[in-house]
């Protein structure tokens, strides 16, 4: 199996994602430059965090038109796994690969902190190694993390069990106090209808190395690895 970490101008969490996968999880990983149009041979693509194109116009608005994104779209359409973290999630939203949009944090401040998340669904390639209702601590670092979608879209997400992570307190309660940015329904991460694309605002790549004394993020990468290991090679 091979993981690819895309680098856009302004990505800054690419090295962390690369290290988490190659060194902490021990899987073959390569960087993918944003101008590359051929991403055959990869099994999972990571769109990492950062401030691509300076977040100019809207966060992720310019990156979604990068040459590599056409390949990522096709890759996802064929069932390839795509994980968008923070700015990566924003790029997936702007690209229309996931529904909704991001608003500036309601407190008008960049928030960088520990964050409890509740695992809502296990039947995705990104969470299958977890336990239902499991509470994990995966850090957030963002200024525009207020997930928004209209009533119809929210109903659909809930009906189709596509809300994957929610901001919660230590006990797993979904409260307004535990919501760091004003996201509707405390949404921290969602997936697409086919469940092969996940976008999440928190950073699992920042807590996947036991050396740092904090590895709740391993759950996400472990799930992907488990999923890929089960796939019958073509």
């Amino acid at each position: 199996m091979k993981f690819g970490v895309v680098i856009f101008p302004g990505s800054n969490c690419d090295a962390d994602a690369y290290h988490a996968l190659r060194d902490a999880m021990g899987v073959p990983t390569e960087y993918i430059w944003h101008e590359v149009r051929d991403i055959s041979g990869f099994d999972c693509i990571i769109l990492p965090g950062g401030f691509t194109y300076g977040d100019y116009l809207r966060t992720g608005a310019v990156a979604r038109f990068a040459p590599v994104m056409e390949a990522v779209s096709e890759f996802a359409a064929k069932g390839g796994l795509v994980l968008g973290i923070c700015n990566g999630f924003q790029i997936l939203l702007e690209a229309g690969l996931l529904p909704g949009a991001m608003l500036r944090n309601r407190a008008q401040r960049f928030v960088c902190s520990h964050q409890y998340l509740r695992l809502e669904q296990l039947d995705t390639p990104f969470t299958c190694a977890g336990r239902k209702g499991q509470v994990v601590d995966i850090p957030i670092a963002h200024g525009e993390g207020g997930y928004y979608c209209d009533e119809a879209a929210l109903s659909q997400l809930e009906r189709e069990d596509r809300i994957i992570f929610r901001y919660c307190d230590k006990e797993g309660n979904i409260t307004d106090e535990a919501n760091p940015n004003g996201s509707i329904a405390n949404i921290a991460g969602i997936c697409n209808k086919e469940r092969n694309i996940l976008g999440m605002m928190p950073h699992p790549e920042r807590c996947s190395d036991p050396l740092l004394g904090w590895s709740d993020g391993r759950l996400v990468f472990q799930s992907i690895i488990q999923t890929l290991a089960k796939k019958v090679p073509v």
Partner: protein
């Protein structure tokens, strides 16, 4: 050269935390008559062309494709 004036605003259904914050600041400065404030973007574009309605249509396309996010923003285009 003709100029396009583009106004991009948050949809009415979207909460404008930035606008609310600034409105509170105005209140604190004594401008108590400012009851609500919403903040948007204003863009000016010089463009080549001579047909006003054709240019307007093109700029609206630019808005739909890149300049605005139709999920959370509305846009209005003026050509002069």
């Amino acid at each position: 050269m003709p100029k396009a004036k583009i106004y991009i605003t948050l949809k009415k259904t979207v909460m404008d935390a930035q606008g609310q914050t600034v409105q509170r600041a105005l209140q604190n400065l004594g401008f108590t008559e400012a009851k609500s404030l919403r903040i948007g973007k204003y863009l000016e574009m010089e463009l080549e062309g001579n047909n006003s309605s054709a240019m307007k249509a093109r700029v609206q396309e630019m808005c739909a494709k890149l300049l605005a996010n139709p999920i959370i923003e509305d846009y209005r285009v003026e050509i002069e």
